[in-house]
């Protein structure tokens, strides 16, 4: 996903907000299916191979539970499949559950893609202009936490090697861990004093702080941002006009297939496949360049 993540952070943020919100509010199964397809494609193109199987293993049971829970607790719908005691188990509720599970799957996939494309510093950059000091604090926190965890591990190791973490009972073990935690916290505070001195020495308290970032908004970013906004507007128009509306209860309605509805589908399809498309085009270019050499 190098082609896509190299876009300006503001473009990325608008894109992900738009896709996630549209996916969450779309009732129409076609739109939900498209969102899932886009999510899967992006995940395949962006994720490292090892992570995918693990994600599947942890999320699949959860999705199954969601799909089955809906008909167990929701009894709307007119097509009763069977009775559990004296409560009906309806086809509409089951299908709604399945569709909800698929939407959740799509949202999870898209969030994963978001995480890989928008690193913390990109997000900070977007808010850096408005609140330079707050952003600075967040930046420091981002550095501080991993450092603290590393120190904790090191201290635990050092004290274990000295035989200070060998208490047999649970109370002793907890006390041992707390001892490590408190000592590492005081070391961290001590270190933070030095960090503060280093900030002070470089004029942190001076008024009129600016925010520097590596990102530039280029013409390409502008074109893509416009495209994203237009496509989003098209899908929203479909929602608002009711052309692409769909209802599960009380009875499944027919899938809308008017020209306007089809336009909505096409727009959303283009929107969710945008990152994958950029990626494939870029890879194709590389293949082409290599074949020219």
């Amino acid at each position: 996903m190098r082609a896509f993540s190299a876009l300006h952070p503001s473009v990325l943020l608008v894109y992900f907000l738009s896709v996630l919100l549209l996916t969450m509010f779309a009732e129409n199964p076609v739109l939900r299916g498209i969102a899932l397809l886009g999510g899967v494609l992006c995940a395949v193109l962006s994720a490292p191979t090892g992570g995918k199987r693990k994600t599947l293993r942890t999320t699949l049971p959860f999705l199954l539970i969601v799909a089955l829970c809906n008909p167990l607790f929701v009894h709307e719908g007119v097509t009763v499949l069977f009775w559990l005691g004296d409560t009906p188990f309806t086809l509409e509720a089951l299908l709604y559950g399945v569709s909800l599970a698929l939407t959740l799957a799509a949202v999870i996939l898209w969030c994963g893609v978001y995480n890989r494309a928008v690193s913390s510093d990109k997000l900070l950059f977007l808010f850096g202009k408005a609140a330079p000091r707050l952003t600075m604090t967040l930046c420091m926190a981002l550095r501080f936490l991993p450092q603290l965890l590393r120190q904790l591990r090191a201290a635990d190791r050092a004290q274990t090697a000295l035989g200070m973490q060998t208490a047999a009972d649970r109370k002793g073990r907890i006390r041992g861990k707390l001892r490590v935690l408190s000592s590492v916290l005081s070391i961290s505070l001590e270190n933070a004093m030095e960090t503060a001195a280093s900030m002070q020495a470089r004029g942190h308290v001076l008024p009129g702080r600016t925010h520097f970032a590596l990102y530039r908004f280029t013409l390409r970013d502008g074109v893509l941002l416009t495209t994203i906004l237009l496509l989003t507007a098209a899908v929203l128009a479909g929602f608002i006009s009711g052309e692409a509306a769909y209802a599960f209860y009380p009875r499944l309605t027919a899938l809308p297939a008017t020209p306007a509805a089809v336009c909505t589908y096409v727009a959303f399809f283009a929107l969710s496949l945008l990152p994958a498309l950029l990626e494939v085009v870029e890879r194709g270019k590389w293949k082409f360049f290599v074949s020219k050499i």
Partner: protein
């Protein structure tokens, strides 16, 4: 042109009986490279921090600091932040942000510069220092040397007029330290940057300096060219404590009686000095310390280790025997697995192939104790005494014996006066000593030390050397992993080189270092071709005889 002038500066910390600085006066010319040295607690850091207004300690100050003839107090806040660059000792703690590029931009952001200007300054600084390669990396992924270079770079982005550095190489390994000092020399030579460097690693700093200032107990006792300072120090009697910190060439000169006109301060000048001497034949070989006792106290046999299944091997078939009553030093570059070796012996890591064996004793196996690189990791209580007592409680020593054990341990390491202080308030060397006493309370047979000389000055190292020798006499086995070739040559019974996951050669120091060409002590480099077997300044001086005397053997 004069850039910095200090007039009759005195300073007393609140509640202190003695003043930290007493009427210090000196001036620094534009483009000068000045090295400020002195023993621990002589006021070096206080002096340096008083020059940087933002970092000035609280207390009573008399006298004044002038930058470009303007008193420091009248300086505009923006100018004070930008024009005086300050780099501190600890590479890790000075870094503020999580990305290298952001760290570089931090100072310029504070000054409120527009993005375009910051972009250019960051870019040119990064490329001049050759750090573009890791421009977009997380600061956490850098090595200690890279971090310190980044700290320097992020100060340079603010385009300072004068650089103040407070022992910037103390926490670095020798190779990174040399690189850092060379960068400073380049800044001074190519950019005309004025530099005031506080340093205890004088081996290289002396040769770079235009002028050396020597502080003692808050007073400026010397202010002269490096050769003159070295010569004056060599000729004082009784020997000045700073003599041990001088470059090897100067120490050899002193041991030879300080007779020549000019005191040498670099390896090259040291070699010139030795041309006037003749050398006796190599000393008879000392009996091999390693072979004196038959069974090993600890043994690593064909040990393989890596941190995770998919990571590369750190140790590949490492074999090493350790014997009771010896000091063994393992040397090697960064990241070759020196610390891993200690962890394996301490039992916190397990090899996936091969064996780590500890000898059987009357009560179970031989005990190991590890002193990590950062001694602070071991302290958990508010005073050193409480800390030592809590350890004894945990290891199950009866209550009535604890006080006596702590007192005995404190006496052994001469830390009685430190017992009631907070571990964090001690100096690096003192922390190291207190941590060592804590580790020794567990009565180990095998003591494992990870870079114990990091951040120590020469006097402190001498103290540690004596201490380790007494522990050895008691029958302890001490394994030290270190970068410090000088310390290993003076202290060890056996030295070994760890490279590519294996122990390559293990031999007594004079064999080990005299067979090496690059990886050896400065004394040995000075003596190469004159007396190959000498690896310490003392050995070189002992072997040298003035030329022209009839009784000289060779």
């Amino acid at each position: 042109m004069e850039i910095l002038r200090i007039e009759n500066l005195s300073f007393t910390y609140p509640l202190a009986e003695r003043s930290a600085l007493e009427s210090v006066s000196f001036s620094v010319r534009q483009g000068e490279f000045v090295v400020l040295c002195g023993g621990t607690g002589c006021g070096k850091t206080t002096l340096l921090r008083l020059i940087k207004r933002e970092l000035a300690p609280h207390g009573t100050r008399t006298g004044n600091v002038f930058l470009h003839d303007a008193p420091m107090d009248t300086l505009d806040a923006r100018a004070s932040a930008a024009e005086i660059g300050f780099v501190m000792q600890n590479p890790e703690n000075q870094i503020v942000t999580d990305k290298v590029w952001h760290e570089l931009a931090f100072g310029a952001e504070s000054l409120g510069l527009p993005t375009q200007v910051i972009r250019r300054r960051v870019a040119e600084t990064a490329s001049w220092l050759g750090i573009e390669g890791w421009f977009r990396q997380d600061t956490d992924t850098l090595s200690g040397g890279q971090k310190q270079l980044l700290n320097l770079a992020s100060v340079l982005v603010m385009q300072p007029k004068i650089l103040l550095l407070d022992e910037p190489t103390a926490q670095l390994d020798p190779i990174a330290a040399t690189e850092f000092l060379n960068t400073l020399a380049r800044l001074n030579r190519e950019m005309g940057m004025t530099i005031l460097l506080v340093e205890h690693r004088l081996e290289e700093a002396f040769a770079l300096a235009d002028r050396v200032l020597l502080l003692e107990k808050g007073r400026l006792i010397m202010d002269a060219a490096p050769h003159a300072v070295a010569e004056a120090l060599c000729k004082t009697s009784p020997p000045h404590p700073m003599c041990e910190a001088l470059p090897s060439a100067a120490r050899i000169y002193r041991l030879l009686g300080a007779k020549k006109e000019r005191c040498p301060i670099s390896v090259r000048e040291g070699r010139e000095l030795l041309q006037d001497y003749s050398f006796s034949a190599p000393l008879p070989k000392a009996p091999d310390a390693a072979l004196k006792s038959g069974t090993a106290l600890a043994e690593l046999r064909e040990v393989w280790f890596r941190y995770a299944r998919d990571l590369p091997d750190v140790l590949r078939g490492l074999t090493l025997q350790l014997y009771a009553g010896e000091i063994c030093c393992v040397l090697g570059g960064n990241g070759v697995g020196k610390t891993t070796l200690l962890n394996l012996l301490a039992g916190t890591d397990k090899p996936y192939r091969g064996k780590v064996r500890l000898a059987k004793k009357e009560s179970g196996y031989a005990k190991t104790a590890l002193l990590p690189q950062d001694p602070l990791l071991l302290f958990t209580e508010d005073t050193v005494r409480a800390d030592l007592l809590s350890l004894l409680q945990i290891v199950g020593v009866p209550k009535n014996e604890r006080e006596a054990r702590v007192a005995a341990a404190a006496q052994e390491l001469h830390i009685e006066t430190l017992l009631d202080r907070h571990p964090f308030d001690l100096s690096g060397g003192e922390q190291q000593k207190c941590a060592l006493s804590k580790v020794l309370l567990t009565n180990p047979d095998l003591l494992l030390l990870d870079e114990p000389t990091k951040g120590m000055d020469a006097a402190c190292k001498q103290g540690l050397k004596v201490l380790l020798r007494t522990l050895r006499e008691k029958g302890l086995c001490i394994l030290i992993v270190t970068h410090d070739a000088e310390f290993a040559a003076e202290t060890a019974d056996r030295c070994a080189l760890l490279f590519d996951g294996e122990i390559l050669s293990a031999a007594p120091p004079h064999d080990f270092f005299s067979e090496n060409y690059f990886y050896t002590t400065a004394a040995n480099r000075i003596a190469r071709g004159f007396c190959e077997h000498a690896v310490t300044c003392e050995a070189v001086a002992a072997a040298a005889k003035p030329r022209g005397k009839a009784d000289a053997p060779c």
